[in-house]
């Protein structure tokens, strides 16, 4: 009788473990495959507030480098203003241009949580739905792309970092416009991997890689990094190149969230194209 009792106790432990473990794995799988605003995320109020408090404290320590970065960006913008160009051709004059319609707008945000040393990294931003941020928006800085917004709460949002195993970003070589796919193999947070460059393309160490502009998430021509090494892996018939990232993910503080103003139109058009096929 006692043995039987012991047996039941041991079995209940095992079955309870199995039940809870199934629940955990289900949560994990659901979380990976769907965009969900579920309550257990760092974008929720409790975790968001805790990260916000710690980020406020830490931001004092990075004031110097943030200021330096801002000064650099200001110089870059000044370079582009009309005032810094000398007009040489008197035949050309400027007028209000209607050729250009705004396609992307940007929201500034502060990073309140970041990681680089896990296989799948995430960030948390201090802006949320209230500030116009929605899932699937891109996150960039002047030096590169940072990630894609995954979950949004009222005041915070969580971002899948570029340093994540699910990241696939469409990029191209700046010098000859050949397209490739950017992934992260998880070894070093300063490097990513560029795949699917056909073997007839001449690669050189130091070539610049930028975003392709074909994605609905990121604008084109955003700097990503430079090629530091390349090879054709055994069994492949395309180049695999190592890209040294221009952005240091360990020192991020402020980012820009990209809103594509024409996204709905594009989505609608492409949806129609698929359904009428």
């Amino acid at each position: 009788m006692r043995n039987l009792f012991n047996f039941i106790i041991r079995y209940y432990f095992f079955f309870m473990f199995l039940l809870l473990q199934t629940l955990a794995i289900l949560l994990l799988i659901r979380d990976q495959h769907y965009q969900r605003s579920f309550f257990v995320h760092s974008a929720n109020t409790l975790a968001g507030a805790a990260y916000n408090a710690s980020a406020d404290l830490r931001s004092y320590f990075s004031l110097r480098s943030v200021n330096e970065q801002l000064a650099e960006e200001n110089t870059g913008l000044l370079q582009q203003t009309n005032a810094s160009f000398l007009k040489t051709d008197r035949q050309v004059f400027e007028f209000q241009d209607t050729l250009y319609q705004r396609k992307f707008s940007y929201v500034n945000a502060k990073i309140i949580n970041n990681s680089v040393n896990r296989r799948n990294n995430f960030l948390t931003l201090n802006k949320g739905r209230r500030h116009g941020i929605e899932p699937d928006m891109g996150v960039i800085t002047f030096n590169g792309i940072i990630g894609i917004v995954k979950n949004v709460s009222e005041n915070f949002s969580s971002v899948i970092s570029l340093l994540h195993s699910d990241t696939h970003i469409s990029v191209r070589l700046k010098k000859n416009n050949h397209m490739g796919t950017l992934i992260w193999e998880g070894e070093n947070y300063r490097e990513t991997t560029l795949q699917y460059i056909p073997p007839h393309v001449e690669l050189e160490i130091g070539d610049t890689v930028v975003t392709s502009g074909f994605s609905r998430i990121f604008p084109g021509e955003i700097m990503i990094g430079t090629i530091s090494d390349y090879e054709i892996r055994r069994g492949d018939n395309f180049y695999t190149a190592t890209i040294e990232l221009a952005e240091d993910f360990n020192k991020l503080s402020f980012v820009h969230v990209v809103k594509n103003l024409m996204r709905e139109e594009l989505d609608e058009l492409e949806e129609n194209a698929f359904t009428t096929q």
Binding site: A24, A50, N117, N120, N250
Partner: protein, 173 residues
């Protein structure tokens, strides 16, 4: 019995804060990420009921996941570790029964016992966690080196935690 629960909740809250506010911001060579929060499972009384052990691990892991944006991952790993715990204790203990409500600590057991106990469970937790994170065996050696290095680091921190808490953990409950 109630003060015991509150005390363990306190340990968990402190470990959670240490984990997400300090350790997650420490970068050690890009490979190492210590998960010292597992100490809260190690600290539960030896004779804790199975259901209480599993539920503590489940909700503790869920809270950690909430802060790390890894829904389910730490929950699963911590559960697995909690599931292995009674077996590990049976395996390494000479005498089968402990005084009621004994918390595994250096002065209640011995330094050697605690070291083997934590190292085994930390390694099991990290192995489960890191392979779940990758979800494949394709980067096997890289993952294995991550597991080994992170386990060692967590182990050192856990032992430091044990030394720090030792006075408050001895016999009295």
């Amino acid at each position: 019995m109630t003060p015991g629960y509150i005390r363990h909740l306190g340990y968990f809250a402190v470990l959670l804060l240490v984990q997400v506010l300090i350790l997650n911001n420490v970068r050690l060579g890009g490979y190492i990420n210590p998960y010292v929060y597992v100490l809260f499972v190690l600290l539960l009384p030896v004779d804790i009921k199975g259901w209480a052990l599993l539920l503590s691990a489940f909700f503790g892991g869920l809270a950690i996941d909430m802060f790390m944006d890894t829904l389910g991952m730490h929950t699963a790993a911590t559960l697995f570790m909690a599931f292995c715990r009674p077996g590990v204790i049976r395996m390494i203990s000479v005498k089968a029964d402990f005084e009621k409500g004994t918390i595994p600590s250096i002065s209640n057991m011995s330094l050697g016992w605690i070291m083997i106990y934590s190292l085994l469970l930390i390694f099991l937790h990290h192995t489960f966690l890191f392979f779940l994170e990758i979800f494949s065996f394709s980067e096997f050696w890289q993952t294995l080196s991550r597991i080994t290095l992170s386990s060692l680091f967590t182990f050192i921190l856990v032992i430091l935690g044990y030394l720090f808490l030792d006075n408050s953990l001895s016999k009295k409950r």
